[in-house]
Amino acid sequence: MDLTVETVSFGVIALLLVASGLASALVKRTFHSVMFLGVFLVAVASLYILLGSPLVGIIQILVYVGGILTLFIFAVMFVAGDETETVEASPVVKDRSNVWAILSGIAIAGLLLYLVFGLNWVGQANHATAAWFTDEDWFSGWPGGQENWVMIPALIVGILVIVVAVVAGILAWLGIRHAIDNWSGSRIFGTALAAALFGLLTAIVVGVAFCVGSFCVSSPGAWVGEMGTESNVAAANELEKVVGALFDAQVVPFEILGVLLTAVMVGALVLARPMQAPADSERYPTVSRKQVLESQRVSDVSLHATGAPARSIASPASESSVPSVPSATEVPE
């Protein structure tokens, strides 16, 4: 590999990404982890810009660093204290279940490395993915060409999705049956019904998106020019193209999904609402008009500027304990 500015900066960004990712995943304190996540996100944005997509990089910074990271920091603030620090990471080797985790991790890493280096898919993805979804007898030629093996991970993911859907259905049914058994728990019934409805809607939307997407993938003239060239990068990042594709027919299902996600956000707000919040009268002591006037009189700038304790307005008993500070503005009776 020749050392150009591009490749060297890619190496630097890659090192930064791996280091900050590892630190974010393994460092002890939660707040430090979130800070390293910020480094990671900014590095990802710079990688996007290096790859030739400044628009996505800017959106990454705006949404991720500006929005999501702030959310995380607020969550640390709400949850933290001593609790988050005492939740220790499980020791990597001692636990027996972690041995299985390490083994499966090695297996996943091996599969990924095989996909990256073992398969000759770079350059022939063109016809590997194009006709696969709509080809009528795709079963017949399946193990034939090597390019078809690329779809095995997609097949595995599909099977996993089906399993997840079945489990979700069982859970929803259990919830409904539980609600029927003790009818008074109408809240559980409502939750189960909402979950089932949401699952149904999501399944419909994802199905439509999959069908439309498969049509788009198989449409002729899929690629613009020679793959992996500078002109291709420029062609992909034309602003009209990105914005135009936002309102194209193929992404409308995703936009419907976005509306559903908005509903999810509202649900999140409902979830996070305070439980049994104390009444305002309990949280704040009732203040009489006399105390308000007193506080207005005492809140003199010169009193606070000298660091002198403000005169307590809570009770006359505490007032006597506080040494009274003579003030220039205090008018003698």
């Binding site: 890619f10 590892l22 990688l47 997509s53 959106i59």
Partner: protein, 100 residues
């Protein structure tokens, strides 16, 4: 041009780092952070292949994934805070209500 294999290898590495954090950590907040790592690893692939093929679709999907990550973080953190209010803990091993 950055070779496409470099980007894919980097994305694989970051995915493995995210999965490692997901498996090792017990605090729900740390698990969410690891999920963000994984999503970003997927996004790198999207952007790399969009520029490789000269089509804007991958960039578009990246934008959707970013929006989805925002929604996921909002919902996840709301659930987390609710969970913390219930049990004064964010240890995911303690949430055993749906276990049988």
């Amino acid at each position: 041009m950055i070779p496409i294999q470099w980007s894919v290898l980097l994305a694989c590495t970051l995915l493995c780092v995210g999965v490692l954090g997901l498996l090792v950590q017990r605090s729900a907040l740390r698990v969410l952070v690891s999920v963000e790592l994984i999503l970003n690893a997927a996004n790198i692939n999207f952007v790399a292949f969009a520029n490789y093929h000269g089509k804007a679709d991958g960039l578009l999907y990246t934008l959707f994934v970013i929006a989805l990550a925002a929604a996921e973080a909002a919902v996840g953190l709301a659930i987390l805070i609710h969970f913390y209010r219930h049990g004064r803990s964010v240890d995911v091993n303690k949430s055993t209500l749906l276990r049988w």
